[in-house]
Symmetry: none
Subunit: 188 residues, 4 copies
């Protein structure tokens, strides 16, 4: 049942965002009584946190698997990660919108902290990878966390644009394009 509620919550939060999503909506989506939500989750913030934290952790774990199962070059791994990220984003875009951003209002402090922790784990994972590349002499910059945050932000911005103007470019090109910018920069 918990699973079912979370799925409903993902769906509704994705479509409506934190504020516009009502507990009624989510209960209706899950086809349960509203009380059931409160049987499993203390309150709306708690439910939201669960969705977001599990979302981020799912993504992070997927990425970790890719890295662990690959003997490829850092460059190719990087490309794969970017692809995976973009795929995730485009699949659950509103959720990603929520997951990848700060939602500093209306959520209990402690709940927010858990979200930030999950997010930091995600950024740190990317930063680690960058750090490895740096040690191998194939990445130039040492501000790994900032760089990681920047990459995620770029993916975010690009996906959002893509979702608004889907026709102007195809998905494969999008991934390729982001990979190129990240890896080679704009200037030749």
């Amino acid at each position: 049942m918990r699973e079912r509620l979370i799925n409903a919550a993902v769906s509704v939060f994705s479509k409506k965002g934190f504020y516009k999503a009502s507990m009624d909506d989510i209960a209706a989506e899950a086809e349960v009584a509203k009380g059931t939500l409160y049987y499993y989750f203390k309150n709306k913030s708690e439910l939201f946190k669960t969705v977001v934290v599990e979302g981020i952790n799912y993504l992070t774990d997927e990425l970790i698997k890719i890295v662990n199962n690959s003997n490829d070059s850092i460059e190719n791994i990087m490309k794969l990660l970017i692809k995976k990220n973009i795929d995730f984003y485009l699949e659950y875009h509103e959720l990603a919108n929520i997951v990848l951003h700060e939602i500093t209002n209306g959520i209990d402090e402690d709940v927010l902290n858990e979200i930030i922790t999950a997010k930091d784990r995600y950024i740190s994972f990317l930063a680690d990878l960058l750090s490895q590349g740096y040690d191998q002499g194939i990445i130039r910059y040492s501000n790994f966390n900032v760089t990681a945050a920047g990459i995620v932000g770029m993916i975010d911005g690009v996906c959002k644009y893509y979702l608004r103007n889907a026709s102007s470019i195809d998905r494969k090109q999008l991934i390729e394009h982001v990979s190129n910018i990240v890896i080679n920069g704009l200037f030749p």
Copy 2:
């Protein structure tokens, strides 16, 4: 008076975001009666739209001025724009958070469209610059809009990280760093 209301609204929306900001808050901040807000703006969405659109346009106009008044290389202009962007973001970060992101919920459709229009103008402006660089052979990629969206997203992600972990890097370095990644990529 209208000016005064908008300033109050910027301040409150910046601090609290769209949902948590109440018309009472804004009226109190402006030191007027709540009814006055409705005398000048049809409703909350309308007021929000005004703030956001004027915010984006202000930023865009600032950037346009920079470009028009400069004879510098595209590379240097690019750096300046990035700096300006980051400065704007860090100064009005909550507002920027709103301005730079999709807030697709709880706002009237038509009002939302005006926000998107302003945002597109901003992205287009950056894309134009990239296009010029492309024509001069100093930028590699031709998906100008996507690239522009990506740059804005990266700035966004980096600033957010910076605001959470301000001590780990200094502002000048931050700007430098983003400029470098955008211009030269991660790989040497």
Copy 3:
């Protein structure tokens, strides 16, 4: 309007008590929208406090007036006060039930404190009178506050019994009876 809301609240709280009385009930009784209640009172506790504090203070002030305007003996004043108290009690009995007893649960601490303060003023007033009687040598005991609390408790107990079994005794006798016990004790 505030007056009107308080009157409605007195009526509803009197009939139903703090918990069973809903803000809907009170709004309906006052024939206003529920929001209006919240325009004048921060919340249910605040409204309740207002009713109780004003109730106690009203009663206290009435009693003070009696004392100040009378040249009668302490004994006769005492009788008058008992009469006034019983009349008040029987008129607003559920309210009196609330007013005279602690409601230690479910009410905000600070609000509760204001209620206790008002109550203490009432007890103190009676204690003062006893103290005067003591100084004049016509009252035996010096634990004035305890005695005052005891008298109020007795009135309470007697009135409650009366309300449950109204037929067994008439109101005038009730007042007479309490006065006698208080003044002369049970034993001849």
Copy 4:
């Protein structure tokens, strides 16, 4: 088991009162599942009634024992009863508060009647004693029930004051004081 549930209920109702006490609280206190409560008691009112009625009856039976086992004078028995009452009150004061005053709304009519019956038995017992005293010519008034209710009310008022201001008088004095007023009145 039933015993165990009642003990838990006494404890929780005593601390929180009827409304604030939840069936969850009571189940937790008894360390059973919530359903178990409903296996033994039809509903919350029923459980509450059981607690209250058994409480009153326990007290009444204790008092009856005292009277039956004593050859003392009415006066001394009276004092003992007052002492016992005050002791009971101060030990289970919140419960006593409920027994004597709990708002009678929101409890099923029939359940309420059983509470009143138990209460009346208690009052009647005291009234009987007064009646005996009257027959022996050592008590002046013949409104026995009203007088009994008044005495109980006085005990209530005095104990409550004592609980709020415990330091101002000692317990033995409190008992003495109430006995004196009841027996001799305020006026010499």
